[in-house]
Amino acid sequence: MKNITNIQKFSIHDGDGIRTSVFFKGCPLRCEWCHNPETQRYEREIQYDPDKCTGCGACVKACPNQAILLKDGKPVTDRSACTLCGRCEIFCPAGIRETVGREYTVKALVKELMKDQIFYEDSGGGVTLSGGEAMMMDMEYLLAVAKELKRQDVSLTIDTCGYVPYEKFQAILPYVDTFLYDVKVMDPELHKRYIGADNKLILENLVRLAGDGARIYIRIPVIREVNGNEKNMKETIAFLKEHDIHPPQINLLPYHDTGSGKYPKLDMEYKGTDLHAPEKAEMEEFVRLFQEAGFANTKIGG
């Protein structure tokens, strides 16, 4: 498990300075509002836009494995026969077929990440491993990348949901400058309902990671129906205080639905249609709550 969906240069909202963000494919959680559904499943896949498909059959002809058939004028891919070779993508005249997920060797990935070294140095930036859930990837692979970046003196940030065995954090901690750690909702029931898992492990890991001296930015995606209320924010603050966690930065990220259009292409259903972002004034009020509690560097946005 080490597929990558995207390597984003000039990433300026995922940690300090100018960064390159790596989006790994595969995540243990299923947040209803997820705006990167292509990073949920671990396997590579072909996505295509059925609405824009003209049914011309170019993909059928291009496929060397006879894995695509036209059914009712639309191509249907037999995933067991598909080798994800990408020929259908090349020959699609509408340009709507795309292979999602690509494997990089450690060497190839580091080479790509080092391309922007000069920008990292001037801006205090570096590399952010994100996803999906970067920490769910093959640990040997992840460590090799992290070590190589450390050797090249490139700052490494890991963007994580926290829902992984703590041993993984322990292993990578020496190579990481900053964790962007999601704390979504404090109520375990709501957490299960909207995210698909209990938050116990996530909160335990946060406490241990902080205790082990990690530099952590807390990130809270704020959705009115889920966690966008004073109660949740106060509980979050209480939790941080109780465990003596002092993040140098807290980011409140208002919900947006820009990812909803991606779902049909992946043959998935967007469940977040009833979700909303809080009003700007509410967001500002949440920021104030954190600031008054002593978390001065709390802001809206990444």
């Binding site: 240069k9 000039f10 922007d116 930036g125």
Partner: protein
């Protein structure tokens, strides 16, 4: 509605008058010149005749001293008056009508103007103008290339120039120049020097042009006194008296104050730009460093404070804006469709002894450009390793407001480029970029842009056996059709031969034109203010300057790179389709060839993504272009170099090319400067910068990179930091120049649909900014489509 710009009421009024007055043709100069020629032609040597024309004009021209002005002098009768230069290009009556009625970059002409032109100007100058002389001497091959848009010719309607003033322009009075001229004259060796007689005529001409400037000063002095006498308002009266007092010192003598230094520069600017019509007008060069000694002295003496210093700068800015670039027609208009005359002020940099050059005046200049928001002068900054972060950030702050100024130049790169071209270190440090981005040793170099070269079109010829689909003519060499090239190397080899052939046609033409200018159209006044012309007793246009360089500006490096990559990747490396299939798709403008179009347009490695597959090709093309031109001798004892910039020529050059292998449709603009082909860069600004930095900027004399951001990317303190980081990083990789358009796409689309509501909208075009409403639709479209570098 936008607020009135200008720090106080005076400036607001002056600026308002300048921006609301329609540009109009002013034939006074043409009339005075024609009368003078009719009476005197043949009586004097050519250089003397030229200087006497300037003297005659400055002795007789209508003076203008506007209400509230503190810096005085206009090229024509009043603001936005545009004198003509029939000795260079004599406009037909039809030209006069077209220029008045055309929608964009129009110049108003009256019935009286057209009558004068028809009855007096045209009859005398027909057959005598440089334009006719040049075109008559060009070969048939040259004419075919020229009309097919293979290259353009800068000297067809305007004179050579392209230079900036050095410090002498701020420290030397015209009496001092006369002294120097006399000294050289006295030392002429009539016994041993076969050139002594010619030298004497040139020196006489220089001396007369000094008199011309002094006369203009005296006339303004007298006018200011007269006006002061009649003036009822005591404050204005005192100002007029001060103006008169200034004119007792300058331009005859060296300035004693900050105010006088600016006034002296302005007279020189007027003289250089009315003597002839040189490209890129004239520029004060490192204005901040030249003014700083006066600023410090006056502040110390208690006669100047920052407010007054800024006000005088703003007065100067209005003066620049009052002078539209002289009227252009035909292809020259297409390659440079703008009123902007490219007077370029570079602030910051280093001092001649290599120290940080930023001073208090530098910050005042940033404040001035921020307040005035005028497209002329072209106000830019040059950033060195020694430039304080504070200055860079302040410049970013002004730039992110989205009107393209200041653009950012790399001081160290400029210096290295100049040294690489043979300049002494201290001359290189005094140099910088003028016009759009072209490098020169300011005050000491004639660096002449001779024309743009359409590199993608040379490649199109290569695919069609030298035949031009656009003009329907055989223009290039017959080296075979696309399908005949069995390997990429064979294709490359043919392209190389075509390029060499076209460049030779251009340079042969250049050589003839250069000689024509040297013999028939000297510029004695420009020679006076350019180092070594006086001591060499030789004209600027004949090689009198310390350094003499010619440039041919390459256009379309992004397009040609993507064309070669599209063929290499799809035809030769991956056999996705055959060359015949590609040519067929191109001949149908890709209509009905969607699969091939997608492959070449969206699924091929492209320049601008930090992908070596494409970037290696860019380097090879650049190196071929550079080595085909750089180092070749010009006719002034200097050498050729290359710039990679387009002004607006990429639109014209695209218009004369049908569909290209990279999926660019027929007649669409080619890529501008060294920026990627539009929408080809999909990996963000760092990737663009990395790709562009793979070009060897130090081996050029200037490159131009455009980056467009939506406002959110550069918002807040962090946004400023990111902008500054991008600039510093690009410059540490030896990038020459970067400019930013900060604007969202919707605003531009809206502006295109409702030009009346966006009269104030300024965008960066290419090396300069212009009002969006002044741009042609294709150019507007192109700016809209330039990839928006917004992420997350």
């Amino acid at each position: 509605m936008a607020k009135k710009r200008g720090m106080n009421e005076r400036i607001q009024k002056l600026r308002e008058l300048s921006v609301t007055t329609p540009v109009h043709i002013d034939l006074e100069r043409a009339k005075i010149e024609t009368d003078f020629y009719k009476e005197n032609d043949g009586k004097y040597s050519i250089p003397v005749m030229r200087s006497m024309v300037l003297k005659e004009y400055f002795s007789k021209k209508t003076l203008y001293l506007g209400d509230g002005e503190l810096i005085v002098g206009e090229k024509g009768r009043d603001p936005q008056a545009s004198p003509t230069f029939p000795e260079l290009c004599c406009h037909s009556v039809e030209d006069m009508t077209v220029m008045s009625e055309r929608k964009l970059v129009s110049f108003h002409t009256t019935e009286v103007d057209r009558k004068l032109q028809a009855e007096e100007i045209i009859p005398y100058w027909t057959g005598r103008s440089m334009r006719e002389k040049i075109l008559a001497r060009m070969t048939p091959e040259w004419h075919e290339c020229y009309s097919a848009g293979m290259f353009t010719e800068f000297m067809e309607q305007r004179g050579p120039g392209h230079t900036c003033g050095g410090e002498q322009v701020f420290t030397t009075g015209y009496m001092d120049y006369k002294e120097k001229i006399k000294k050289t004259m006295d030392e002429l060796d009539y016994i041993n020097d076969p050139d002594a007689v010619n030298k004497c005529e040139e020196l006489k001409a220089m001396d007369i042009s000094c008199d011309a400037v002094i006369i203009l000063g005296e006339r303004y002095h007298k006018l200011a006194l007269e006006m002061a006498e009649k003036e009822q308002d005591e404050t204005r009266k005192a100002e007029l008296l001060q103006i008169a007092a200034n004119l007792e010192v300058v331009p005859a003598h060296k300035p004693q104050t900050y105010w006088q230094a600016i006034q002296l520069y302005w007279f020189t600017h007027l003289a250089v730009t009315t003597e002839l019509n040189p490209w890129d007008a004239f520029s004060p060069g490192r204005l901040d460093q030249h003014l700083n000694p006066y600023y410090e002295r006056d502040v110390e003496a208690g006669i100047l404070d920052d407010e007054k210093a800024l006000e005088l700068l703003e007065c100067l800015w209005v003066k620049f804006y009052n002078q539209p670039a002289p009227v252009k027609v035909g292809i020259t208009l297409k390659e440079s469709a703008t009123y902007t005359d490219f007077a370029n002020i570079n602030t910051g940099g280093v001092t001649p002894d290599g120290r940080n050059g930023v001073n208090n005046v530098s910050y005042l200049i940033l404040d001035c450009m921020d307040e005035m928001k005028l497209v002329q002068p072209n106000s830019n900054v040059t950033i060195s390793k020694k430039t304080p972060a504070k200055f860079l950030k302040r410049a970013c702050e002004v730039s992110r407001e989205g009107w393209g100024q200041p653009a950012f130049y790399n001081t160290e790169a400029q210096i290295m480029e100049l040294i690489n071209a043979g300049k002494k270190l201290e001359d290189a440090r005094r140099g910088g970029s003028s016009g759009c981005v072209e490098t020169g040793a300011w005050g000491s170099e004639a660096y002449i842009l001779t024309g743009y070269l359409n590199i993608p079109k040379v490649f199109q010829l290569t695919l069609f056996n030298g035949f031009d689909q656009y003009s329907g003519k055989q223009i290039g060499l017959k080296l075979g059709y696309a399908k005949d090239f069995k390997t990429y190397d064979e294709l490359w080899d043919a392209f190389k031969k075509q390029l060499a052939y076209i460049i030779d046609i251009k340079i042969r033409g250049n050589n003839v034109i250069e000689q024509l200018y040297a013999q028939e159209m000297p510029a004695p006044c420009l020679s006076v203010v350019t180092n070594d012309c006086i001591s060499n007793a030789k004209d600027y246009n004949a090689g009198g300057a310390r350094y003499n360089t010619n440039y041919i500006q390459g256009v379309g490096i992004g397009t040609i790179t993507d064309c070669l990559a599209a063929i290499k990747y799809n035809v030769y490396d991956n056999q996705n389709f055959t060359m015949e299939e590609l040519i067929e798709a191109m001949e149908h403008d890709f209509e009905g060839y969607d699969a091939i179009y997608r492959m070449v347009h969206d699924k091929t490695p492209k320049y601008g993504n930090d992908d070596d597959y494409a970037d290696d090709i860019m380097q090879e093309v650049f190196e071929l272009y550079r080595s085909s031109i750089t180092g070749r001798p010009n006719m002034k004892g200097g050498k050729y170099g290359v710039d990679m910039l387009p002004t607006t020529c990429h639109v014209y050059f695209g218009d004369v090319i049908l569909a290209t292998p990279n999926g660019r449709k027929a007649h669409k603009p080619v890529s501008e400067g060294i920026s990627p082909e539009k929408s080809a860069d999909t990996n963000g600004p760092t990737a663009v910068i990395k790709s562009c930095a793979k070009m060897d900027h130090l081996a050029t004399a200037g490159t131009l990179l455009n980056q467009k951001f939506t406002p959110d990317v550069v918002a807040g303190e962090e946004g400023l930091d990111h902008m500054a980081s991008l600039i510093r990083s690009y410059f540490s990789m030896d990038g020459h120049h970067i400019q930013f358009n900060v604007i969202d796409k919707q605003t531009l689309i809206d502006a295109q649909n409702n030009p009346e509501e966006y009269k104030d909208l300024i965008v960066r075009v290419a090396g300069y900014s212009d009002f969006f409403r002044n741009l042609s639709k294709p150019l507007q479209d192109e700016i809209i489509e330039r990839t928006e570098q917004s992420f997350n």
